[in-house]
């Protein structure tokens, strides 16, 4: 399977003297959904910022489709769509305008846009909000706009930070189903979430970050192998054992 994202010996953070991440190593392959899990402050958001190129590594590098941001900014930026933890929208734009803007920024053809938007609006039950200004949306709806903006553009990699916050149960279910559909079409997803019971059944692999280091990674089965004494433990139990041991 082709590697889409490669995080290589990444040490990073805002200040050189106090790195938040230490030698972080992992990859995401085409058609894979990978869960990035860890306690608050473990370094998940910092890892995502490094992948987004908002921070520069002190050591190591991040490549998307084999290229770093500096080597091929167009390829890099075009390969990635991002859903932030907190919705970030323009108050002066409607839902429709946000979606159009995302499509324009990523160079989506008008015809493709129209097809995709129709599907997404129905899926996330946002048809009647299409012309609503973002400031009049509830938090969950704002989150849906963020998700739809990312899903419109069909990049090779989706990076999604805590996507379930504020979503109603139906929204969560539809989001998960849609991610499975994207995966089956070959897209890769890097997902960070605290709702371990939910992502347990959806992610192909997990990366456990603790104090800025990767303390375990692999499929659920591989993680179970490392903690045999727990038997057929859930992801949550394994995670608890891991961070308790590493704390």
């Amino acid at each position: 399977m082709k590697t889409i994202l490669q995080v290589n010996q990444l040490t990073g953070g805002y200040s050189t003297g106090k790195p938040v991440l230490h030698d972080v190593n992992f990859d995401v392959k085409a058609g894979e959904m990978v869960g990035l899990i860890g306690l608050n402050g473990a370094g998940k958001s910092t890892t995502m910022k490094h992948i987004l190129g908002l921070m520069q590594p002190h050591k190591g590098d991040v490549t998307l489709q084999g290229k770093t941001l500096a080597e091929a900014p167009e390829v890099y930026r075009g390969s990635l769509a991002f859903v932030p933890e907190t919705p970030m929208l323009y108050e002066e734009l409607t839902v429709k305008e946000h979606l159009e803007l995302a499509a324009m920024a990523y160079g989506v053809e008008k015809k493709d846009y129209e097809e995709r938007v129709e599907h997404l609006l129905t899926l996330f039950q946002m048809n009647d909000k299409y012309n609503t200004f973002s400031m009049h949306l509830s938090k969950g709806m704002k989150q849906k706009v963020m998700i739809m903006s990312a899903f419109l553009v069909h990049p090779p990699l989706y990076m999604i930070d805590e996507p379930f916050l504020g979503l109603d149960p139906l929204g969560i279910r539809n989001l998960l189903d849609f991610m499975v559909e994207l995966k089956s079409r070959g897209a890769s997803i890097l997902l960070s979430s605290h709702i371990l019971s939910t992502i347990e059944n959806y992610c192909d692999r997990f990366i456990v970050l603790h104090h800025g280091r990767v303390i375990a990674q692999g499929t659920l089965e591989e993680l179970r192998q490392q903690h045999r004494h727990l038997g057929d433990a859930s992801l949550e139990n394994i995670f608890y054992q891991l961070v308790k041991g590493g704390a």
Partner: protein, 407 residues
């Protein structure tokens, strides 16, 4: 996606938003005040031109007057938090956007620098023994400001905060030295020295690692600049939202300790802590420092007392902004504390701060020789002024009821 037109749309949206407020700036008498200041200043300046003392330190004065305008190199980018999601894809093309932004930000500074230089020139060519040609020095000043803008933009792109700060400091030092060299040294020496320094500086700017677009920093800076603009407008009229910048100022943390740990003091605690970390405190402290400096100079003249009162008035007016903190706070309507306690707390915090600053402002009077009764009368007068000001303010109608619009 046309990034240049996006920039233009954002610029005009910003001006459309703030333009209506300028009516209130005009009505407030501020422009009239500026006009009087200008006429008075011009008259004094022209008078001074006729009787410049022989030993007038024109080069030092020119350095002090010109330096802030040479260094001034902020940028308005009109970036918004959502750009992190929607514009990240077009990052490789963002140069188009920032070209507009840089032009828009640099031009007014060059014009202002030119005006200040034009006014100063009248004094400079009379007072200096060996003045530089007008056009030459003008060109040098513009070049120095452009160098500062270029350096400042490159600093923003640097990924390490340490590098940003050290380059910023270096830029300030270089500007002081270059300006001084042009004022004090012969032209040929100044040309050679400037070329060596500027070329070295520009080469050195290439060393640190940089972001193509420092998104997070630019978004935060834009928010602060917008906030400062809104605070300025807020002196004249109620603006709907003032994004507050928080300054940690940990050295002032001890000041909250004297507030008693009891329900009645909750708002006082909240407002004091907020004030200590707000822009407003920075502003009144700067005004106090400026006032102390001026009062030190004029402490023995007839101007001292009116100036003392004037500074207290300005500081008091600034402090009234405290009432806007937490205006729409949800918690304030939840706390089991009577509503009017809030106004009392605001006035108390403002009054105490005002009193403390009145004492600081008065300190230069202690350096006058003799006339001790007058010196202490000034302090008593200052304190009385503060009490009267705060009492008059507390009598005005604001924060009367929970559903008040507070205008």
């Amino acid at each position: 996606m046309n990034l240049q037109s996006l920039w233009r749309r954002r610029k005009s949206a910003f001006w459309q938003e703030v333009f209506p407020y300028f009516r209130y700036v005009g009505q407030s008498g501020f422009l009239l005040f500026l006009g009087f200041l200008f006429i008075g200043g011009a008259a004094g300046y022209v008078g001074f031109l006729g009787r410049i003392p022989a030993d007038f330190p024109i080069r030092t004065v020119s350095l002090i007057v010109l330096l802030p305008f040479v260094l001034w190199s902020s940028f308005r980018t009109f970036l918004q938090p959502a750009d992190l999601v929607y514009l990240l894809r077009v990052e490789p093309r963002m140069k188009e956007y920032f070209r507009k932004s840089i032009g828009y930000s640099v031009k007014p500074k060059l014009i202002l620098l030119s005006i200040v230089y034009g006014i100063l020139w009248l004094l400079y060519f009379r007072a200096d023994q060996d003045p530089k040609p007008f056009l030459l020095l003008w060109g040098v000043l513009l070049a120095l400001n452009i160098m500062n803008s270029y350096g400042s933009w490159q600093e923003r792109r640097m990924s390490r905060p340490g590098a940003r700060w050290s380059y910023r400091l270096t830029r300030c030092l270089i500007s002081i030295v270059l300006l001084a060299v042009w004022l004090w040294q012969p032209t040929w020496k100044a040309v050679i020295f400037s070329l060596i320094v500027i070329i070295t500086y520009v080469v050195a700017l290439r060393v640190p690692r940089k972001h193509a677009v420092p998104w997070e920093l630019l978004i935060a800076t834009e928010r602060d600049q917008r906030g400062r603009f809104m605070i300025f407008l807020n002196w004249f009229v109620d603006v709907p939202s003032i994004p507050q910048k928080v300054y940690k100022r940990t050295w002032l943390n001890g000041l909250g300790k004297w507030i008693r740990f009891q329900q009645d003091s909750a708002y006082e605690y909240l407002y004091l802590k907020t004030l200590l970390r707000s822009d407003v405190l920075g502003m009144v402290l700067r005004l106090t420092a400026l006032g102390m400096l001026i009062l030190y100079w004029v402490r023995s003249s007839n101007w001292a007392l009116p100036l003392y009162a004037f500074m207290l008035l300005i500081i008091g007016t600034q402090l009234t902004a405290i009432r806007r903190f937490h205006r729409y706070s949800f918690w304030a309507s939840i706390y089991p504390i009577p509503y009017h306690f809030r106004k009392k707390a605001v006035v108390k915090v403002a009054r105490r701060t005002h009193l403390a600053l009145a004492v600081f402002l008065w300190l230069p009077f202690l350096l006058t020789s003799g006339a001790w009764p007058m010196v202490f009368a000034a302090l008593v007068g200052g304190i009385a002024f503060v009490y009267f000001f705060q009492w008059a303010w507390s009598q005005k109608k604001w924060m009367e009821h929970e559903d008040d619009e507070d205008l």
